[in-house]
């Protein structure tokens, strides 16, 4: 196959994808970088010119900045914890022989296909609403005071919604990995006298390690950018209580019209994402050399 003209043809065939992505990567990123060093406010055309690190300083010294970093970490960490632990548990459950396995699977994965604004609205109004939500109904039934989730625990509420959306993803991937575990290996471990707990620790968990890594990394990429769920439920509030980095940048740019500041925030977000990306690329890259 490896003849000379196939090689030339191959380059030609790859060109559209490569060039498009190259432009898509370089142009906006370069613009963001440029803006981040400019005085640029959409409402105030008089302010322009080079700003040095002012935007970064401004963004960085804003108390909302540290809160939003913290919030980002809470969302990412909380969702990861819930989905990975839950995903392993449900994966193990669905790996058992059960009646109606196909339907159970469909039910479990469904939340993943619900678009974020819908997921947020359902949870906000039908489930967590302090007056008419299902949680309030349950509280009333038990004679408790209903909780106003989004006012009292805004960040936690968002974590719950996002975790609900991503749990199916973790479950599906971990279940796929569990099913690829050689049943002879499990039987051998059983013959060797390992009980369920030991089999889980010494056999199942190491087998899942790579899949768990992949789940964590891929989810992190998406979770760093949680946006619609916040927009629809708390709009970042109360105050900045549920504003993550992505939402703060949006607020700065499109609500505060501060292009320079938002761009500086964008560059910080890129740096954060790249730290995660490096690890993800390693995990995926290893898989390429078969």
């Amino acid at each position: 196959m490896a003849t000379q003209n196939t090689k030339t043809l191959a380059r030609l065939m790859m060109a559209p994808s490569v060039l498009l992505l190259l432009v898509w990567m370089i142009v906006p990123l370069a613009m963001t970088l440029w803006f981040s060093f400019q005085n640029y406010n959409l409402l105030d055309p008089s302010s322009d010119g080079f700003a040095g690190f002012f935007n970064y300083e401004f963004f960085y010294t804003d108390p909302a900045f540290f809160q939003s970093i913290w919030n980002t970490l809470v969302i990412v960490g909380g969702v990861l914890l819930i989905t990975v632990v839950g995903g392993i548990a449900i994966g193990l459950l669905l790996d058992q022989p059960i009646f109606g396995q196909g339907i159970v699977r469909i039910l479990v994965i469904s939340p993943f296909f619900v678009m974020p604004p819908v997921a947020a609205l359902i949870w906000k109004n039908l489930i967590m609403h302090p007056g008419y939500g299902v949680f309030a109904d349950i509280a009333n039934l038990l004679g408790l005071q209903p909780v106003d989730w989004f006012a009292q625990y805004p960040l936690f509420s968002i974590v719950i919604i996002v975790a609900w959306q991503w749990l199916p993803f973790a479950t599906l991937i971990l279940l796929t990995a569990l099913q690829s575990l050689d049943s002879e290996q499990k039987e051998a471990a059983e013959m060797d006298g390992a009980n369920f707990f030991n089999r889980f620790i010494y056999l199942v968990l190491p087998h899942l390690a790579r899949s768990i890594t992949v789940v964590i990394l891929i989810q992190t990429i998406f979770l760093l950018g949680v946006y619609a769920e916040i927009l629809v439920t708390t709009n970042g509030g109360p105050g900045y209580a549920s504003t993550n980095i992505a939402f703060l940048i949006y607020r700065t740019a499109l609500l505060g019209y501060d292009v320079g500041g938002a761009s500086a925030g964008g560059i910080i977000a890129v740096i954060l994402a790249n730290i995660v990306a490096i690890f993800l690329m390693r995990a995926v890259g290893k898989n390429l050399d078969r």
Partner: protein, 274 residues
């Protein structure tokens, strides 16, 4: 396991699994139920049996013109997916069948573009769209969705194409097939299942994309994601109507999603888990 499982254990597992599954599915189920209630019923406390009215579905259409964002969602998701496939198929093909030393780097680099946070380029994209008059246009958003999903499309196609054994292509060459015949008679039939899976998953991703589709549209090009997000500040308690709109927004993709479980794993893990 070869060993027969006791029925008792299977029944226990079944019960637990169903309870867990129903809890997870409950918000969706309850939305569907609520969509069949009247507005007063919807806020009258927990109730799983609706009166069964379709009034809300009719209201969503007559009061909010549901069909328009629905058609936008269809056009944007299908359009951007087909565009992405047209661009990606030749590239993925070349990387799978004539790999070079740099193929791996190119793939990894493509993956890395997917990791750029959307907000980081919100400002320039917004300004570019504004200056080119692309805000709230289907074309603009289609291009956007094509670009953000292109790496996943290339990757998915690549993992499918790579599974087509090279020896089969060589066999067809030995059998006298020219490049065109090789593509028509051998490669296409073998690649179609992978392309179809990619198409399916990508439509789902594009349908649910909720950053650019909300930020870059207002009314004309707004797909269902933006339409639903506009319900976040409702004038009053129209929960039954909200539920009907939500049900209609997720139903088509939910059904597509059920058919694409396997592809989902492969597509979203970039082939790292199959």
């Amino acid at each position: 396991m070869a060993r027969s499982v006791t029925t008792g254990r299977k029944i226990t597992a079944t019960i637990v699994a169903w309870v867990v599954a129903l809890i997870i599915f409950f918000p969706i189920l309850y939305t569907i139920i609520t969509s069949l209630k009247t507005e007063p019923e919807a806020i009258a406390g927990f109730n799983l049996i609706p009166s069964g009215t379709f009034e809300n579905y009719i209201n969503v259409q007559t009061q909010s013109d549901y069909l328009k964002p629905f058609m936008n969602s269809v056009i944007l998701s299908v359009g951007s997916t087909i565009l992405a496939l047209i661009i990606a198929i030749p590239g993925a093909w070349a990387m799978a069948f004539s790999p070079t030393k740099r193929t791996k780097d190119v793939l990894m680099w493509m993956l890395s573009t997917k990791m750029m946070p959307a907000v980081a380029v919100l400002v320039p994209i917004y300004l570019l769209f504004r200056d080119f008059g692309l805000l709230d246009s289907r074309i603009g958003l289609t291009v956007m969705l094509t670009l953000i999903n292109l790496p996943i499309v290339v990757w998915m196609l690549y993992t499918y194409f790579r599974e087509i054994p090279g020896e089969i292509l060589e066999a067809s060459r030995m059998d006298g097939a020219g490049l065109w015949q090789e593509i028509v008679y051998v490669l296409t039939p073998m690649a179609v299942p992978g392309i179809a899976s990619t198409l399916l998953l990508n439509i789902i991703l594009a349908w649910n994309e909720s950053f650019w589709s909300i930020r870059l549209t207002t009314t004309n090009a707004a797909p269902l994601t933006a339409f639903i997000a506009s319900f976040s500040s409702p004038q009053g308690l129209f929960w039954a109507k909200l539920s009907a709109a939500s049900t209609m927004a997720i139903a088509p993709i939910l059904i597509l999603g059920w058919f694409s479980q396997k592809q989902l794993v492969r597509g979203l893990t970039f082939g790292a888990v199959k």
